[in-house]
C-alpha cells in the first residue's frame, strides 16, 4: 500500500518535471519569437501579441506542473504516513513547489510573466537534483522528528524560503536591468519588463511580507528543539545560519525603512540575505555537521 503511494508520488514528480519543461519551452518561445515593431513611434519595441497565446500556455503549464507536484508531494506523505518533510529529497520537492507557488500567487497580483522563464529553470534544476542525487526511499521518521512541530516549523521555513528566493530573483532582475539602463536604453526585449522602481518595491514587499513568517519559523524551531534536544538554542550550524538569514533580512528592512536605502544597494543586500538562506539549505544540509543532519540527508 505505502509502496504504491511512493511509486505514484515518483510518477507525479516526473510528470510535473515534464510539464515544467513544457512551461519552460513556452516561456522561451514567448521571449524569443516576439517580433520587432517597425512603426516609427514605437521603434525598437517588441510586439508580444503574436506570442500571447504561447505565453498563456506557459502559465497554464506552470499551473498544471504545480498541481501535479502538489499531488506528488502529498502522495509522498501518504506513502510514509507522515508529513513529507523527513529528508532533503522531500525538502527539495516541497521547496520547488513553494517557489513556483509563490510565483503563481504573486502572478495574480503583479504582471510577473517575464519572470516565468527564470522560475521554470530554477524549479527544474531543483527537481532534477532532488530526483537524481537526493532521492531516498520513503521511510518513517527518526524519533527526533516525530512531533507536531515538524509540520509547523518546516512548512513555515519552506514557504519563507520560496518567497525569499522569489524576492531574490526580482532583485537580481533589478540589478541586471539597472546595469543595462546605465549603459543606455533597455534592449528591445527588456522593455516590457517593469520599471526599476516597481521591481525595487516588489522585492521589498515580498520580504516585508514573509519576514514575520521566517521569524516564526525560527521560533517554532526553537520551541521544538527545547522539547526534542533539551535546549531551545544551541548554535547548531543550521540554527546559526537561520539566525544569520534573519539578521540579514532585518538589516535589509532597517536599511530600507529607516535609513532609506533604495535601488542598487538594497538589491545587493537582498541578494546577500537570500544567499545566506540558500547556503544554509545546500551547504549545511550536505556538508555540515550538527543536529539538523539526519541519516542519509
Amino acid at each position: 500500500m505505502s509502496r504504491t503511494w511512493a511509486y505514484l508520488s515518483n510518477y507525479l514528480v516526473y510528470s510535473s518535471m515534464a510539464v515544467y519543461t513544457l512551461s519552460f519551452i513556452a516561456h522561451a518561445i514567448e521571449t524569443a519569437w516576439a517580433v520587432r515593431v517597425t512603426t516609427e513611434d514605437s521603434k525598437k519595441n517588441m510586439d508580444y501579441k503574436r506570442t500571447e497565446k504561447v505565453a498563456r500556455i506557459a502559465t497554464a503549464m506552470m499551473i498544471l506542473g504545480f498541481v501535479l507536484l502538489f499531488v506528488g508531494v502529498v502522495a509522498r506523505g501518504v506513502s510514509a504516513g507522515r508529513v513529507p518533510w523527513g529528508n532533503m529529497y522531500e525538502f527539495s520537492i516541497t521547496g520547488a513547489l513553494a517557489f513556483s507557488g509563490a510565483y503563481l500567487v504573486a502572478l495574480r497580483k503583479y504582471d510577473l510573466r517575464w519572470l516565468g522563464l527564470l522560475v521554470s529553470i530554477a524549479v527544474l534544476l531543483t527537481l532534477g537534483t532532488a530526483v537524481a542525487v537526493l532521492y531516498r526511499p520513503s521511510a518513517p521518521l527518526v524519533p527526533a522528528l516525530k512531533s507536531t512541530w515538524l509540520v509547523i516549523h518546516v512548512s513555515a521555513a519552506i514557504i519563507s524560503g520560496g518567497v525569499f528566493l522569489l524576492a531574490n530573483a526580482i532583485a537580481a532582475a533589478y540589478l541586471y536591468l539597472d546595469a543595462m539602463e546605465s549603459r543606455g536604453e533597455r534592449t528591445a526585449w527588456a522593455k516590457r519588463l517593469p520599471s526599476l522602481e516597481v521591481l525595487d518595491q516588489l522585492s521589498y514587499r515580498l520580504v516585508a511580507f514573509v519576514f514575520p513568517l521566517w521569524t516564526f519559523a525560527v521560533i517554532a524551531g526553537a520551541i521544538w528543539a527545547e522539547s526534542a534536544w533539551g535546549r531551545y538554542w544551541g548554535w547548531d550550524p543550521k540554527e546559526t545560519w537561520a539566525f544569520i538569514t534573519w539578521v540579514a533580512y532585518a538589516a535589509y528592512l532597517h536599511a530600507r525603512v529607516t535609513v532609506g536605502w533604495r535601488g542598487r544597494k538594497a538589491a545587493w543586500l537582498c541578494l546577500f540575505a537570500g544567499s545566506t538562506f540558500l547556503f544554509n539549505y545546500v551547504y549545511i544540509n550536505v556538508w555540515g555537521t550538527g543536529k539538523h543532519t539526519y541519516s542519509g540527508l
Binding site: 521569524t215 526534542a228 533539551g230 535546549r231 550550524p237 545560519w241 529607516t258 555537521t289
Partner: protein
Amino acid sequence: MSNEIEVPELGSVGLLRYGWRQLTSMRTALILLLLLGVASIPGSLVPQRTQNPIQVGEYFKNSPELAKWMDRFSLFDVYGSPWFSAIYILLFISLIGCVLPRTFEHFHAARALPPVTPKNLDRMEHFSTWSSQGDELDKARAWFKSKRFRVLEKDGSISAEKGFMRETGNLFFHLALILVLLGISFSSLFGMRGMAIINVGERFVNTTTSYDSLKLGKLFNENNLPDFALTVDKFTAKYNVVTSAPEDYTLDITFAADDFNKTEKRTIKVNSPLKLGDTSIYLQANGYSPVVTVRDSKGNVALQGPVPFLPQDGNLRSIGAIKVPDADPQIGFVGSFVPTYSRSGTDGAVSVFPEALDPRLLLAAWLGDLGLDSGVPQSVYRIDTSKMNQVGLKSLKPGETFTYPQGSITFEGYLQWVNIEIVNDPGKNYALLGSIVAILGLLASLFTRRRRIWIRVGKSVEVAGLAKNAAPGLESEMADFVAMLKGEK
C-alpha cells in the same frame, strides 16, 4: 598627569554625548547588526567546544600550532567569546538607546491630537476638489469614526490620522527582543544542565555527584537541585529493518520525588521530556554496556559489572575500555562491542543492525601501568597503552571466557544504557514570551500603514492625503473616501 592634558569639563561630556549619539544612531545599529551576522559565521564552520569537543580535540592533535592561535581568538568558543559578546552587548545598548526615547516620544504622540489641516491642500498628494453639497463634513466625520481615525476638527476642516500601531508594534518588537536576551541571561545565571549515563536497572539520585557532567549557572545554588530519584526499568528501541534507522525510543522509569516514599511509573520519549517544574529530564542517547567478570590467576574476582561503551555508527558498533587498576600488574582491555556481528573484508568486525541479535565482544588485553595515578585526567572510554604490553586478542560470544596467563575475562552478557540530560532553565518562559510579543509587534508594524487624510469644506470640498514612508494603499483609500463623500457608494 592630569596637568599635562587639559580637557575642559564640557569637552569630555560633549565627547561622551557625541559617542552616545554615534552608538545609538541607526547607521551604527545597522553596522552592528550586520557584524553580528558575520561574526556568527566562523562558529558554524569551525567545531565548537560546547557541541563537538571531540572534533576540537582533533584540531589540536592535527595542527597544534594553528589550533593554539585559533583558540587565542576564541574560535572554538565563538558564541561565548569576548568579541562576539562585545558586538551583541553594543547592539543591545544601541537598541535600548534608540528604543527608549522613541517609546516616550510615541507615548506623547499617541495622546496628542493630529496637527491642524494645512492651508494649501492643493499642494498635497491625492488632492481633489469639487463643489460642495453641504453634508460632506458630517459624512467625513462619520467615516473617520467608523474607521477609527483620530481626528481634529477646526474651522470647517477635519485633520485625521491613523496607523499608530505601526510604531507601537515596532517598539514592542524591539522591547521584546530585550526581554528574550534577559531570559537567556537569566537562564545562564540561575540554570543548570547535567548529563548522566544510566544502565537499565540502575537508579539515579539527583545529587551533584551522580552526574557524569554538570554545568551550573554562576548563581545556581546546589541546594536548589530538586529532590528526586529515578530507576530505569526498561528501554525499548525500534529500528527500521531495511535502513537500520531508529523509529522509536521509549524509556520507562520509576520516578520518586520529594520524600522518596511515593513512586510512580513514567515514560520519557525523545519529543516528550519529563517535566518537573522548571526542570526537565530528556532522553538524549543510548548504547550498550557489556557485562564482564575479570578474575586474576588465582580465580579471585577483580572486577564485575556493566561497562558503558560509546556507539560509533548507526548500527551501534561501540568502543570502550575496561580498566582493572586493582590487579597487579594492572590490566586494561580495549574493547569493541558489536550488537549484530558480521565480518567485513576491509573493516574487520562490524555491526549490521543496531539491535543485539548476535552480540560479540572483541577485546585486546593490555598489561602494565594504566597511568591512572599520573594526575592527568583520562577518558573512561580509552586506555593510554604507552606503558603497557598487549598480551592477547579475542572475540567473545556471551558466556565465553578468554583466559590469558595472568587471569581471565568472561563476557556475561550486556545491558542497555541511556543518557539522560537534566536541565533547569528558569528563563525560558521569558524568552518565549519575548518571542511571541516580538512576532505580534512585527506583524502590527509591517502591516499597518500610517497616513493622514484632510478635508476642508467651504464652497467647494477639498481633500488630500499623505502616507508616511510612501506606503502603498492610500490611493484606493482616498478613492473610497471621495466616492463616499460624493454619495457614489
